[in-house]
Symmetry: none
DNA sequence: TTACACACGTGATGC
DNA sequence: TGCATCACGTGTGTA
């Protein structure tokens, strides 16, 4: 459509129309206003042209937004056939998840610390019954016999491994265990003491002489925020 | 505003208005159409009410989308004072970056993959003497009994663990072993076969019924290419 | 003034 | 039908 199709649009009719539209705001009848202090037709033309460029600009804006949305849709699996709000909700979830994961990664990566450490803490629910639940964080030099020694020691203490997270990096190893001791006569205190002794012994046990760590990775790369 | 405020809106005026609006589509004058085969006022009321609920629903939709957008804005640093398209572009960048980082991390960290896998390869020097050296990469669902089963199985195969790297994350576990079999009569081929059978059995062994992974994340993020 | 960004109400369309 | 989503053109505020 070009401007000439507006040539029959007379001032009177515009006034009538505007007046009606103004009185009936609920109809949301949107007419470009006609300035009263300038000649009529050029102004209408200008208004119309402005309106068109406005709508075109708005379309470009919408297209920019939708382009990013469809990019996001490709990045997030299982987001096909989701509406915009749903897609964005998934995006929020995934960003949160990725951030948490990255944080956890750096925690895990931090893990094999350079100094031997043994941290033992009881879980909250440990005092409720005769089951003792402890969480153990344990760092030392890595070596082949470590696992069998750990298994043997934990077995001797009648401890069951509920959960284990073991990371070995650069010749160091960090183990995080959730251990459970069921129906034992010893106290939590004595159990923790025995555990501490066991782990200290394992940590300071001499390494196999001919054991050489194969892959010494650059740890700083992993620790960047 | 209630419907009574429309009481002066006469059919004639609506016709005139509709006619004008139809002839001047470029004005985008949007009136609810009046069906010709029903009484006038109720229909107008109904149309108006429908129109109002429509616009209200649309507002709710916009609000839902904008709520997610502002959540995203909080999640993405330096996205204040960005327009919607810019914000979404940052989100896309951020997600891509985080995914790449996670992928990198999982490569470096040997993060467990979502599919069970068993990769067995001989080390180069294995053919030189009667010692067989194999490197095993093994991924499966994590569970408490895994370690003891692995130890038992490897012991039965007369395999010594030279090096072990074990990572558990999100309910999955990945083990990388360097295993040595000294002075055995079996061939490398049969050893690898036995090993593969063992690991496949362990990987598909049913999990302890009451064992629940603590954090069940949407893991596909780490695996997306 | 121009240019841009956002919210709004509406028609179209799919279930 | 009614209810949901989307694209559209417009009014409005801001720089």
């Amino acid at each position: 459509m070009d401007d000439s199709s507006c040539s029959e649009y007379l001032p009177e009719t515009h006034e009538i129309l505007s007046s009606w539209c103004h009185n009936l705001q609920e109809v949301n009848c949107q007419l470009p206003l006609i300035p009263t202090n300038s000649c009529y037709f050029p102004t209408w033309s200008q208004e119309f042209s402005a309106s068109r460029s406005h709508s075109e600009a708005e379309k470009r804006r919408r297209d920019r937004i939708n382009a990013q949305l469809s990019t996001l849709r490709k990045l997030i699996p299982t987001s096909e056939k989701m509406d915009k709000a749903g897609l964005l909700r998934s995006v929020v979830e995934h960003v949160k998840d990725l951030k948490e994961r990255a944080k956890e990664m750096s925690t895990v990566l931090n893990t094999p610390s350079d100094i031997d450490e043994v941290i033992i803490e009881e879980e909250d629910e440990s005092s409720n019954n005769n089951n003792i639940l402890v969480k153990v964080s344990f760092s030392c030099d890595d070596r082949p016999e470590l696992f069998s020694e750990l298994n043997r020691g934990l077995k001797n203490l009648k401890l069951t491994t509920i959960e284990a997270n073991i990371t070995s990096l650069g010749g160091r190893i960090k183990c995080i265990f959730s251990l459970q001791s069921i129906n034992v006569v010893c106290t939590t205190h004595s159990l923790k003491h025995s555990l501490r002794v066991l782990l200290a012994r394992i940590a300071t046990s001499p390494s196999t002489p001919n054991f050489r760590i194969k892959s010494k990775r650059q740890r700083f790369f992993l620790l960047a925020t």
